[in-house]
Symmetry: C2
Subunit: 324 residues, 2 copies
């Protein structure tokens, strides 16, 4: 079953969330509107809202309640993408981006802040302070994750554990919270929201590892951008950390990473990519991703056997096997 | 009565808030710690927490409750300062800032996001969803205000009304909300929190107008930076808008502003400052600020005559007359 087939079964509600997303961030300020809607219109898998809706099926499904967590979760994700665009001078010079007008960095920054704020405004329409607490905590953890990523740029001594903690904060928690809050907003049993949290967490870990593998192994046609973006930036992901553990590969790979660092990423990274692709790092990373997927699937077994459970299972499989 | 004399009467609680601010943003991530604490240690008037505490005196004063709005409000203000530091290339080139390390813009941005998130985390410990809603709305309005400021850079056709709407969002609302939430967190009567909101709003408007006047008339010794910062940036404040209404001054001032714009602010702005200082714009702006202060003071008359009311009055006077 493809992702869109699953979505098709809940088409009406997914479209409703889409309209609500647009309605929420629309404002009289044209500059803000342009910056915010630009990203929204670019689309995306809307995986977080879909997890909210499916999780809501385990309680009293009410789209009017669920939208108040589905919309914020997608907006928090979007705000993090907007802020990723606020880049430093070096990256501008690399020429990957169109020349920006004088205040563009500021616009991206305030647009991100605005979307963050709007996310919380929507959630606070729900009279459950617990939901507000969980959402704001997720925002904080994501920021710490982003900062850990910056801190660890080009750190060739980092451990697998460090990488795990980082992607947990950067990615997995928000997906975990999407599942959890869908259940809470639908008034589901505590045991159910805990289980859905763990499902989302494990899916999120698998998702990010898969994403990191694709950045190393994917073609430009598959991933929509040239591969090797992460290593160019200094973001050393799981396959790289594994590859560095290979005694024969370690020395040449270290040299190559150091060369990329010295050139600020403004260089061909194909040699590094070749080394990593030939190493066992890719397979090892994929195996770990599969273990997370397996864990996610086994958590599902604890949930009532309703159609949403089947859908969640299909999505977990899709994420594990996706090539884009 | 000086500001510090007023603070002296509540020294213990102000110090407690100070410690809580530090405790709240301290984290294991060193980079984040450094960036966040740097700004905290730089100090500030802590006017927002002080308004929270004084407003709390009109209800059941409980510092443990009040800190959960006082800390977030100061943090939201701090986060906006951190994000103001995320500047575009032109400003970096102007050399007003020390050379930044490669990722400094990102660090400032994520540090601001982190502080925002922490602010909301602290507030959500209170079980009053209304408070969460008011805070997140204030964050959104502030962002819109910042974007309006960017939109209106060098816009010599803007009206006084446009300026008012902008500073209302950018500054006055957060001060209004500080007073309002102090009262709500202390369980004060609805009429009281409404009155305090209006007091804070009017004080906030007077505060920002005064700030904008000082940027044009203050000495470097008084304001801690060379005057004319706003006009260099293209931020045309109330005295400038008034000065542009002077038929004799309009033409030469427009020419001078256009020159500054063309040079991206990287020029001497003394001629523009001279023109504005000699115009009636400064006095007119001060008169408007005084009207806001008067309104704030008259709102206070509706409140119970307790010591906190006298303190709020003194702070309003201090803000109206400050020269730094």
């Amino acid at each position: 079953m493809k992702l869109w087939d699953i979505y098709a079964t809940m088409k009406q509600d997914v479209s409703y969330i889409e309209r609500e997303l647009e309605r929420t961030i629309t404002t009289d300020n044209e500059l803000l509107n342009e910056a915010s809607l630009h990203l929204l219109k670019a689309g995306g898998k809307r995986i977080r809202p879909v997890f909210v809706l499916l999780s809501g099926k385990f309680g009293t499904y009410d789209i009017e309640q669920l939208k108040r967590v589905a919309v914020p979760l997608e907006l928090i994700h979007m705000a993090s993408l907007v802020h990723d665009d606020v880049i430093d001078d070096a990256e501008t010079r690399r020429g990957q981006l169109t020349v920006k007008a004088k205040w563009d960095n500021r616009v991206a920054m305030y647009a991100g802040d605005y979307i963050h704020g709007k996310a919380l405004m929507v959630a606070t329409e729900l009279k459950q302070p617990e939901i507000h607490r969980i959402l704001s905590k997720a925002m904080v953890e994501m920021c710490i994750g982003e900062m850990e990523q910056i801190r660890d740029f080009f750190n060739t001594e980092q451990s697998v554990r460090q990488y795990m903690l980082r992607i947990r904060r950067k990615t997995a928690l928000l997906i975990a919270v999407s599942c959890q809050l869908g259940a809470i907003a639908a008034g589901a049993d505590r045991r159910i929201d805990h289980a859905l949290y763990r499902f989302g967490y494990n899916v999120g870990m698998a998702f990010q590892i898969r994403d990191d593998v694709l950045d190393l192994t994917g073609t430009e046609a598959q991933i929509g951008k040239p591969p090797g973006n992460d290593i160019r930036q200094g973001n050393l992901t799981l396959p790289v950390i594994y590859a560095l553990q290979d005694p024969e590969l370690r020395r040449p790979l270290l040299t190559e990473i150091e060369r990329i660092r010295e050139l600020n990423g403004e260089t061909d990274v194909n040699e590094a990519l070749d080394m990593i692709r030939k190493s066992a790092g890719i397979i090892q990373a994929e195996q770990l991703a599969n273990r997370y997927t397996d864990k996610a699937l086994s958590v599902l077994e604890q949930l009532p056997n309703i159609r949403a459970r089947k859908n969640l299972k299909d999505i977990a499989h899709f994420i594990a096997n996706r090539s884009h």
